[in-house]
């Protein structure tokens, strides 16, 4: 008896295998949970509005897919995958890569801002210290009855 099976047939078998009701329910609950968490974080002010589109978009896409699993099957067929689960992993990895890259760009920009702020702050602090010294020196001068004492701000003299 020939037990070999055609690969195309096997793939078709995987693609047409119906998902269990439990899978649908778990997918739907997970998507809803993600949507709710994103909205909750937004409401609590822990997630800035500018970061929400990608997460809200993802929640809605997952929600739609969990209700219409045939979409996922269609994508699986289109990209040449065998199972819907491998499609989910593939798309998930692409999504994570995009997110990581996006955050690396934002981090680079944030570092630049931090660096510029720190430099600005350091320079301002030096100016403030110099002004403070000048102020205390002029106060001492005006208090001094001898007069004629010139106080250079420490560190300000050319070397």
């Amino acid at each position: 008896m020939d037990k070999t099976i055609d690969l195309a047939q096997l793939r078709q078998l995987f693609l047409t295998a119906p998902e269990s009701e439990a899978t649908r329910i778990v997918a739907f609950v997970a998507s809803m949970a993600l949507l709710i968490v994103v909205l909750w974080l937004l409401r609590r002010g822990k997630l800035r509005e500018e970061y929400t589109p990608i997460w809200l978009g993802l929640s809605v896409v997952l929600l739609v897919i969990s209700m219409r699993l045939d979409f996922l099957r269609w994508i699986t067929n289109a990209i040449g995958a065998w199972t819907t689960s491998s499609t989910i992993f593939f798309l998930g990895e692409l999504f994570l890569l995009a997110i990581c890259l996006s955050y690396a760009v934002r981090l680079s920009s944030a570092f630049l801002h931090i660096k510029n702020l720190s430099q600005e702050m350091a320079i301002l602090r030096t100016h403030v210290d110099a002004l403070r010294r000048e102020l205390s020196a002029s106060t001492t001068d005006s208090d001094s009855s001898a007069g004629g004492n010139h106080h250079d701000a420490p560190g300000a003299a050319p070397v």
């Binding site: 660096k115 510029n116 720190s118 320079i123 030096t126 420490p154 003299a157 050319p158 070397v159």
Partner: protein, 246 residues
């Protein structure tokens, strides 16, 4: 004739031990420069040592990197209206008696930036074979971009205000501003010259040359060179304009 305002910038990180000797040499050289120590978030007494030896000290709240410390000095110099600056390392490998040699040609308008080179004359500077290879590689790449500098990694430099105005921009590296920065400057019409200076090896092991940093340095520099060399210039002769305005 009154000498144009010049500032000496010394980036320093944990240099409380080496700084006093350097400051004494600077004082003895009697250069009449405003000395600014940029303390890059040191964990030792670099700030107070610098201040006690007559320098203006700008202290970063935390360690930002050698390039960022230099840039803070440039920003301060711009804010103070300086027309020229000299930069030197705090670890004592540069000799303050060479400052005049670097600064004068820049003040006289012979070039925009003067680099103190270890390799033009036999200064007795010792360098390991790997570093020599790295230097050779970057010199070769620099030449591809029209940069002919024997010592592009030298931190001993003098420059005019046009260069400072260029260096305070966000492109300036926070870690190692070396040949990549010079390539960018050259492409924008900056004139770069070198003169031989006496340089000793750093008094302590440089952080750039320890661990895996040399590998990262080569990788980063190649990337920066590609970036600096391939950027589209909005106005190629901006430096000329800047000099005319100055």
């Amino acid at each position: 004739m009154e000498r144009p305002r010049s500032i000496l910038i010394i980036p320093a990180y944990n240099e409380a031990v080496a700084l006093p000797a350097l400051m004494k040499l600077i004082r003895d050289a009697n250069l009449g420069l405003q000395c600014v120590v940029v303390d890059d978030g040191s964990e030792d007494d670099t700030s107070s040592v610098g201040r006690n030896h007559g320098a203006i000290v700008i202290r970063h709240p935390f360690n930002l990197g050698y390039g960022a410390a230099l840039q803070t000095g440039y920003k301060y110099a711009l804010a103070e209206g300086a027309r020229f600056i000299v930069q030197m390392d705090a670890d004592g490998q540069h000799d303050p008696r060479d400052i005049e040699k670097l600064l004068l040609p820049v003040q006289q308008g012979q070039c925009d930036i003067m680099i103190g080179s270890r390799f033009l004359d036999s200064t007795g500077y010792a360098m390991g074979p790997l570093r020599q290879m790295g230097r050779g590689l970057f010199r070769m790449i620099g030449r591809l971009f029209g940069l002919s500098v024997a010592d592009p990694t030298s931190g001993f430099q003098a420059m005019n205000r046009a260069v400072i105005e260029h260096y305070v921009q966000d492109f300036f590296p926070t870690d190692f501003p070396d040949v990549d920065v010079l390539v960018g400057l050259r492409r924008r019409g900056g004139t770069i010259r070198e003169c031989p200076v006496h340089m000793t090896s750093a008094t302590r092991g440089s952080r750039i040359h320890s661990g895996l940093r040399p590998i990262y340095y080569v990788y980063k520099m190649l990337l920066s060179l590609w970036s600096a060399g391939s950027q589209r210039l909005d106005n190629t002769d901006w430096l000329e304009n800047s000099k005319k305005e100055g």
